[in-house]
Assembly symmetry: D2
Homo-oligomer: 293 residues x 4
């Protein structure tokens, strides 16, 4: 057993600190190992993270092909597209939401999103839906839609790099987003336009089934987390898994479930390397990325 | 301002207790009001809750048409179907997950799901997919699929009562579930089978747009929570909203966001009645339901 | 293994529900057992709870001698004394604290405490300190001070019932309170007045050492929680323990530690009956008390 | 309003990231300002932190006289003394606590403390109590006891540096600790030995009353947190305050209360600079310290 070691002012992140610092240091080691072992890396994150500065890290990881598959919520697509054209702002967790609403400002924790962002999204999505409608014979898969969106964006966008680097972006709950709401308007013109979520299942399954090893970097909870681990059931589980979460397991929610629980399901292998870091990703993930690179 | 009042042994849930007891009592009042005002009631919940005894309350509410729309995660459909045929068991939060995996038992917090449950699901879903394939011309909406599933189940199932009582069940992330995994297998036989998630957007939008008033009972977070509140943007927000959550808002996650944040977005109206109860739903929701009825 | 059972509208709290409902039902069973086995019962709680309606339940339990020892924070003594003479009010978690300060109102979550409450406390404590100064030869133990305070209060007060029923109230951190601040003023007159916290150690140790069995009902965290479990090390641990907490264990804090951790320390016996309920006590404790009685 | 900015691989901690990264960057700015304005700095922390590598940072801050007053829990004194002579070890949050107990190992989250540590403490404290008994005329204040303990330790100890640099260490709940338990044994020999917690009130009050400005760096909750902010009521509140916490405010607990709540009480001034960082201190505090220095 290793000793607890006291930090100094210039200490780096250390396994020997205890509590979540230890968990974070383990996360770094596990990600290093999954890369060394050439595992197929699944990165999943929630949409609020794309509204934050973490988007920059997702960009870097996709640009360098550090990850092989992205699984995320519909809102991540919204924010990545909008932030290519518009700025979000830093606010405060305790602002007056009625006053914000009157000013046309939407709040995500301490991040502010002006309403005109969604006007921009509406304009852009119309054209992209048109492209999809003709190119994919009226019905697209979420990963086809994210691919087409990425092609219209620029180097600040993670979708841009995924499209360029052929990293598939899965978003099984894509209609739960501003883009989803736009399909309601678009279908008033093109009734037979559709998004078939089953179209992605085979492609995703093949990645899982043909991989030699798989690793998951799972930031936050919800559908992105579950989809990333659940599809790995097909191969008997992930070989490496890092969860970063702020949710608690005591209500039986998937978002708060620790890595151990996934072992019972065969979503993570019994002999896998896995760790849960209990921390907001805006603090933990930059540390993890620095530790790994 | 009302006084804090000391409880006695036979006190009922009281607004005057303080802390979350006060929040819970407010939640009861808001739901009573939304019913009195004949609001169209949206009920959303996460899948772990259907694995728990809360399923019985969802059944009762759907049976009595207390709610008008259900929005839930894909896993809720899995559990409702399986539990019609099989039992789940009470375990413990700190069981040995490797040992459970060896025994073919899956853990959800302190609830245990034996593997044969998923064999049952596979068998049943094949037939239901066949039905959908012919009846809906190969491509179904999630709400059509949940309707067809409900028709095969019995009185212990909330989907049964929703199908019987024409309560639509929306599940925008439906492929993120065991049922979703089954579509991968089913499509090997029927390549052109699909689930078009945009097919539900118009129907859901019409409910929101034509309602006189709307109310949301939002248990837990994730895609179910967001979809229920986000679609209400089309009408300027919910008139009544009750959140029951265990997540925290400090990481900007939608799951942890308080009702106030939704006001900035127009997902809840500025002048609405709303409250967030910070509690596991297995404790809070039975109290809320008793308080309301 | 027992089955998960679906709730009905008139279900009582049920072990078979899953998640925290199961934990709560276990807590009821454990408390029933500790009473049946005539264990010496330690009740510990934090000061915010005495500001809430839970004070009424503490009163009832002390009145009926359901508990044998109370361990609590200094602020609990403040609130119990003040609320004998003054009312606290129900506010909201998101009130404007600068505005409240200007109005002389102090906030505890969603409970409001007007400044004149502390004027009342000051007046009363002067007299009580005088009594203690002469009666206890200048230096009191915390349990002597709480005894003297209780004797001045009325039937709405838990200290009143503890004094009347000879239930000792330990408060090792008593100077961290408004009463503690008053000692600063009182000592300007009587320099040799003191509170000797070691004076209670022997009395508390004897209770632990002579008890046949001991049980702990531990609401919330902090010094009250730790003192109640730590003193039981002297006898090899509690035989029964129920924790009700909202804190998480991931930062290694004692407040968030589950009952298991205490087993490693010998604060709870290996073979003891113990459970942690993750819930705000204003919701959980009335349910526990109803379940037990 | 500032824009959200995307991180790059070599970004430092940035205010423009959003969520808790923004809070952390604000914390750094506030601490810089409190030092620049020569505020009297109160540092408070919980005992588990002294069991972790954070002890090293407390040492550095006390060595450089970066802080003027330390307020902490009794267990912090235990761990600082023991770790001068013995090692703690890194374990895991989900170890088998019954097995640990059989082996004589105590668990604090994922940190392990062998039983012989407490034998060491017992031996050392006997001598220190003897010293105090003669030097302070039988009855010591907690800050006198911590001063005497610090004098026996070495450069790895924060108490050592506090004693050397005349930084007072207040511990109002000191008997709730292993040291507290030792007073029970010591008093069997020396009945009139005592710890008078009121003895520290005047000294602490004078620091608060004579300071030009005061700042608080408050890590974790409990009695240390409350004592540090409550004593500042005497001067109308702290001018600068940084909280680092993992507790939630929804149960009205002081541990989870945000800085705002303290404004209503006059524990923090209306016009003060204050921020709450929601994060485990083993991750957040090294980042804060690096940012400040």
């Amino acid at each position: 057993m290793e000793n607890v070691k006291d930090l100094t002012f210039d200490s780096n992140l250390s396994y020997n600190t205890g509590f979540q610092a230890t968990q974070l240091a383990k996360a770094v080691e596990i990600i290093k190992r999954m890369k060394k072992e050439k595992a197929t890396v699944f990165l999943s994150f929630t949409s609020n993270m794309v509204a934050s500065g973490l988007r920059g890290l997702f960009v870097e990881l996709c640009k360098r092909k550090f990850v092989d598959v992205v699984i995320t919520a519909g809102g991540s697509i919204d924010h990545d597209l909008i932030r290519t054209y518009k700025n979000y702002h830093i606010g405060d967790f305790s602002m007056d939401d009625k006053a914000l609403h009157k000013k046309g400002i939407n709040r995500i924790g301490n991040i502010l999103v002006p309403n005109d962002c969604y006007v921009e999204l509406e304009k852009r999505m119309k054209l992209i839906f048109e492209t999809c409608y003709s190119k994919y014979n009226k019905v697209v898969a979420p990963s086809e839609l994210t691919y087409e969106i990425g092609k219209t964006l620029d180097e600040k966008s993670f979708l841009y790099w995924c499209s360029k680097n052929e990293i598939p972006v899965y978003s099984p709950g894509i209609t739960d987003s501003a883009i989803g709401l736009q399909t309601y308007f678009f279908k008033q013109k093109k009734k037979d336009f559709g998004i078939d979520v089953t179209k992605d299942m085979n492609k995703l399954a093949q990645i899982v089934l043909t991989a030699d090893k798989t690793g998951g970097i799972i930031l936050g909870g919800g559908i992105s987390k579950h989809h990333a681990i659940a599809v790995n059931i097909l191969r008997g589980g992930l070989d490496y898994a890092v969860y970063v979460t702020t949710s608690s397991p005591w209500d039986g929610s998937l978002s708060g479930a620790r890595t151990q629980e996934a072992v019972s399901w065969g979503k993570i292998k019994e002999e896998a390397n896995y760790i849960t870091v209990d921390c907001d990703a805006t603090i933990a993930f930059p540390l993890i990325v620095k530790g790994v690179l």
